[in-house]
């Protein structure tokens, strides 16, 4: 699987006029995000990456990680933010609301329906086992999404070694030391931004 070629490796990120498919309409956004959301057990990000980057090609891997940076750092549910950012880009406010609505509407009905029947099956060992197995797979999917996105670091303005160091230290602090997220965002995220700022041509 090779990343889609850019016109020039020096093209500034997010500005290169790469011709790739785009959502046709707000309805297309709504339906696409509904289908994505309904596949997203235990988190939707893995499905968004696969559908929008690898299948529909609305975004390249590099564009995806840029949008995801914005979506993940802002307050609110990450995938909802991401859907809004993508929708906004193509159809403004209507696009943002279509994408967000698609992501939330059908899954909301499903989860309420599940809540109605859950009480009856919650104690069945096979059901508990199935949920446990799906949760373990979901954890693997999130990790796989992170690994796929890490391919974009090769095209980052930061040297690869700096990227890997920042990512590794952040992982240790977040997953093992359990430092609050805000501290890591301001500390190591801020460091990354300052380094990137210095390397970008004014």
């Amino acid at each position: 699987m090779s990343p889609s070629p850019l016109p020039s490796p020096d093209a500034p990120p997010g500005t290169a006029a790469i011709s790739h498919p785009a959502p046709a309409s707000c309805t297309d956004l709504f339906v696409s995000f509904t289908l994505i959301a309904l596949q997203g057990f235990g988190g939707v990000l893995a499905v968004i990456q696969r559908e929008l980057v690898e299948r529909k090609r609305w975004l390249t891997n590099e564009e995806f990680i840029e949008e995801w940076s914005v979506a993940q750092i802002l307050p609110g549910p990450n995938v909802c933010n991401l859907a809004m950012v993508i929708g906004q880009r193509h159809f403004g406010l209507a696009g943002a609301m279509s994408a967000l609505g698609g992501l939330l509407a059908a899954p909301l009905l499903v989860v309420l329906a599940l809540a109605l029947v859950y009480a009856r099956f919650a104690d069945v060992p096979a059901v508990q086992g199935a949920l446990r197995g799906m949760a373990a797979v979901a954890a693997g999917l999130v990790a796989a999404t992170g690994l796929k996105m890490s391919a974009a670091l090769g095209k980052n303005v930061l040297p690869l070694v700096a990227c890997v160091l920042i990512a590794a230290v952040s992982f240790v602090l977040l997953a093992w030391v359990r430092v609050p997220l805000a501290a890591v965002v301001f500390g190591l995220g801020g460091l990354g931004c300052v380094l990137a700022w210095r390397r970008l041509k004014p």
Binding site: L45, A126, A136, G192, C193, V194
Partner: protein, 193 residues
């Protein structure tokens, strides 16, 4: 512990709404990061939900399709159910979801619009490029916490193996994600993991 019998006044509904409104802007890194604050307020301080209802809401939303923020809808649903009717439950869903989504949505939309208009600016490009390594670390640490959430007991090795295997399959192949989830559900249901 049986579910509390509640009779909400307008003031209680308003308190529920403002609680979620406030948490919306604090949900850096996703709504799931504010779970402990919600538990403190809904279960410990107000007594509107039992600990079991709270835990079930989070677990059920995690295992159903869609964004994880839908656990907030289930919290509202259960608070409403404790008021004795399905209508109150629906009311709870609307109040909780609008509360948790409205402020962050308005804010994110404004920022996204601004960032799109100013995408050529050095500062915007530096932010998007500079955050990339951290963003990947956040994903990997989320995966780590999800995989070890049930405890780090060595007896759980089949679950870890399943996590690692599904990670490798999704990373290196184009197999549909639903096949992996179905395999996980099947292995769990027959008791192998």
């Amino acid at each position: 512990m049986s579910a509390p019998q509640l009779v909400f006044t307008w003031h209680d509904w308003l308190s529920l709404f403002t609680h979620f409104l406030a948490l919306s802007m604090m949900s850096l890194g996703g709504a799931i990061s504010t779970t402990s604050e919600m538990q403190r307020y809904l279960v410990e301080r107000q007594g509107w939900l039992t600990p079991a209802q709270f835990g079930d809401s989070v677990a059920l939303a995690q295992s159903s399709p869609g964004p994880n923020v839908l656990f907030v809808a289930l919290l509202g649903w259960n608070v409403g159910l404790n008021n004795g009717s399905k209508l109150a439950a629906l009311c709870g869903v609307v109040i909780a979801m609008v509360g948790i989504m409205l402020p962050s949505t308005v804010f994110t939309y404004q920022v996204a619009q601004w960032a799109q208009r100013n995408r050529e600016r050095r500062a915007v490009r530096a932010f998007k490029q500079g955050m990339a390594p951290l963003v990947i670390a956040m994903l990997l640490s989320t995966a780590w916490l999800l995989a070890t959430g049930g405890g780090t007991d060595p007896d759980r090795w089949p679950l870890w193996l399943l996590s690692v295997a599904s990670c490798l399959v999704i990373w290196r192949t184009r197999l549909h994600i639903l096949w992996m989830l179905a395999a996980g559900a099947l292995l769990g249901a027959i008791g192998w993991v």
